[in-house]
Amino acid sequence: MTTLHPPPELRDRTPPDPAGTGSAGREGPRRAGRSGGGARLGRFLRRRPGLVAAVVVVVLVLTAAFVPALLAPGDPAVGDTAQRMLPPGPGHWFGTDHLGRDVWTRVVHGAALSLQATVLAVAVALVVGGLVGLAAGYAGGRLDELLMRGVDVLLAIPAILLSLALITALGFGTVKVAIAVGIAGVASFARVTRAETLRVRRSLYVEAARAVGTRRLTTLWRHVLPNAAGPVTALAVLEFGLAILAVSALSFLGYGAPPPASEWGSLVADGRNYLAVAWWICAMPGLVIAATVLSVNRISRALDGEWGRSV
């Protein structure tokens, strides 16, 4: 299992502008005006074919997740055993599997399950990690010590091992896989949120808000949270890619939805025994996972101020 670490600048950089971190793009078009913005966008994208491809892949994946019938009208669970293990070609773009089911149809219909688990996993990590980080950073002192040492313990255990331990306790199923992956991702969110909260907490406007007697929770909610959210959002997108991998890994190991559900990881696992004679059963879903993870990472990098840095 490959572990991608968030780029260092996400963890400990101090952005120049507390209000617009990680989303500098929002201000670009406004400054440049509408027609100039279009030209700039065209230039921006022309120089980045990778980013365009990444967006296309993500749009396709999202389409597959929400309206799978648009891309693959067939039934993913029904095959014709007379047509099993046909190589990729017209009629079956990704080939057919060991029971004669169309691999493309199965990948498309599996997207919803895999993405659902991924979104849930990131949401769990974001909400729990964000709250822990916010509380630790804002309260400071003993609570900070206590929470962050807890986070250190989580960090000390390899993420996939932690997920496996959790899934063993929780049982099988898509939602349980998502929770297991989410909990394992709590630590990185907690640390980034805490770092941001610490920085924002000492800024003038927060001290001013306190000085005029705003209540602590209101300050936290109205001033600290929105200004600390930028890097955390970028991390969430990055974490999305990691979560796809982790969710697929667990469903590869058989912890996901029961058959005949076609989660991406279990599709790869199904093809394992046929590698020598029918490589496409394994390779096609594997390539889709790889393409999705790379695309999400590419977009996450673009969100991380690439527009602002471009000319």
């Binding site: 095959g79 099993r84 005949p260 025994n273 020598a276």
Partner: protein, 539 residues
């Protein structure tokens, strides 16, 4: 990944072996042309076998998984042996035996001169030590405990004479003595705790256990001076091989590839997709259907669905066994025709009750009030015909097979839900009755397997109702000393099981080995496991 790396040192060993072989052929160049037919058996060499899993125990009395039994069968001898062709029981450590009229006492005479590899003689006292210990084994010892059901004690009449007594008639005990599960351990090994025994045991077999590493490898070494083989062995004296090594390689593709590359000599559990490449590489694919209960679906009769004969019959008729066998299983596999597999003694064909007949399946469901809903799934009184089927993935073909069964049953309007469980969980689920239907098989070369599975007075995992004609037939076959009467009663039990669709047999588990061109005479025993005493390697 680490499993691949593990092959490296072995590869170096193979080079050494090949070098030795070259020197040997150079010296004995007179025997040229022996490549085509392998010539007479030659002693020496190491046979390397790849299996797909390990049960985590090196005690033949406590393992149930074929992959573990392959290696451990070689370490122990049994009182008797069973002819795989005729099912006849023949002498091994015991030269003769007899039972009293109601099969509650069995008297054996041992051959003199056999010893365990720690030097202790194989005598009546050693047998008593083994049998006395069996009822105390934990959950892992379910097989030998079943063979010794009703065990009342062993009387030692002399060093080679003893009598095993039972509280109730026990005809199947004789076949039990031929299995690895009642293979004899040295009294010291037998006395050790269950877990100590799992780390390694001492037997009297043609091989000794040299090294056992959980989930990795089992190494056997030839027992020097072995001279008390079964009547079925084709040569007297020691085994031909110096060593046998059983490596755990989970992926079937990697096993097949290693055999093609000549890195290993034999593999277990050959998949359908690996057959053609292996045959092209010159490997032989011996196959034998495992005797006992074939893979199939059995309902918990305490649940509403399990108690509904229409649902049971619809499933039995809705499954297209021929399509299943052709699409998923190795080509030598046969569809199941009865509650017993075709290689079990007393098997009786019940195809009339089990043939694929979707028209009849839908008619039966219609008549019982299960009518198709808008999505094609049938329902009755608002309840959908959803059957949760528990299964454990103990061989690679299980999941694809069940996904196909799921598709087939959908065509007749049954929604089969597949619930995967861990292999270790299955025993607990059965005991608690916490299931609607279960996918399982059980290997044993004796019809008594039906009684231990379906008799309402036994474990009765499937909650069969008590007191019916099925119970009578099952008990009668267990007490029938006359073989013809026993076959008749066992046949009646199979007919009742099939006619009531109490158990829905689907496919016979068929053990397919891949044996490379340099390995010879790797033979199946009556339970479709292997015996290596007569196996040899040519170079």
């Amino acid at each position: 990944m680490s499993r691949l790396l593990r092959f490296l040192p072995a590869g170096r060993g193979a080079v050494l072996l090949a070098a030795t072989a070259l020197t040997l052929t150079a010296c004995g160049s007179g025997a040229g042309g022996a490549q085509a037919d392998a010539g007479p058996p030659r002693p020496g060499g190491t046979l390397v076998v790849a299996v797909s899993s390990d049960q985590g125990c090196a005690d033949p009395q406590q393992v149930t998984s074929n992959d573990s039994i392959y290696a451990l069968r070689q370490v122990v001898d049994s009182l008797t042996d069973q002819d795989p062709d005729t099912g006849e029981i023949v002498p091994w450590l015991a030269t003769s035996w007899s039972s009293n009229a109601d099969a509650t006492a069995w008297t054996f005479t041992l051959r003199p001169g056999a010893t365990f590899s720690d030097g202790v003689p194989v005598d009546a006292a050693a047998v008593k030590a083994n049998f006395d210990r069996v009822p105390e084994l934990g959950a892992r010892g379910s097989l030998p405990k079943g063979y010794l059901a009703g065990y009342a004690g062993t009387d030692v009449a002399g060093p080679t004479e003893f009598t095993v007594r039972f509280d109730e008639p026990n005809v199947q005990f004789l076949q039990g003595t031929s299995t690895h599960s009642l293979g004899l351990l040295s009294p010291d090994s037998a006395a050790a705790s269950d877990d100590e025994r799992c780390a390694g045991v001492i037997g009297s077999g043609p091989f000794t256990l040299e090294r056992y590493v959980t989930d990795d490898v089992t190494v056997l070494a030839k027992r020097p001076g072995y001279d008390w083989g079964s009547a079925l062995f084709t040569h007297p004296g020691e085994a031909y091989l110096d060593r046998a090594e059983f490596r755990v390689v989970p992926e079937s593709g990697v096993r097949a590839g290693s055999l093609q590359a000549g890195e290993i000599d034999a593999i277990a559990s050959v998949g359908q997709q690996d057959e053609a490449p292996l045959i092209a590489a010159g490997a032989e694919l011996p196959a034998r259907a495992n005797p006992g209960i074939p893979f199939g679906i059995t309902f918990n009769h305490d649940t509403p669905l399990g108690a509904d004969p229409a649902v049971r019959e619809a499933l039995a008729r809705g499954i297209d066994r021929d399509e299943l066998v052709a699409a998923v299983y190795p080509s030598q596999t046969r569809p199941a025709t009865s509650a017993l597999a075709s290689t079990t003694p007393s098997h009786a064909d019940q195809t009339g009750h089990l043939g694929h007949d979707p028209a009849r399946a839908t008619a039966v469901l219609d008549a019982a009030g299960w009518l198709p809903g808008p999505d094609g799934i049938r329902a009755k009184g608002g309840q959908r015909l959803t059957v949760p089927l528990n299964f454990a993935q103990n061989i690679a073909t299980t999941k694809p097979a069940l996904e196909l069964v799921q598709q087939q049953l959908r065509r007749i309007g049954v929604d089969l839900q597949l619930v995967e469980r861990q292999i270790s969980e299955t025993a607990v689920i059965q005991q608690k009755g916490d299931f609607v239907a279960l996918w399982a098989n059980l290997t044993r070369a004796d019809p008594d397997i039906l009684r231990s599975s379906y008799w309402s007075g036994g474990n009765n995992f499937y909650r069969f109702p008590a007191g019916g004609p099925l119970d009578d037939a099952l008990v009668a076959q267990a007490a029938a000393v006359d073989p013809a009467e026993r076959t008749r009663q066992a046949g009646e039990a199979q007919r009742l099981l099939a006619a009531g669709h109490h158990q829905i047999p689907v496919v016979e588990l068929t053990t397919v080995l891949g044996v490379g061109p340099t390995a010879h005479d790797v033979a199946f025993d009556a339970s479709s496991r292997i015996q290596l005493h007569d196996a040899w390697k040519s170079e």
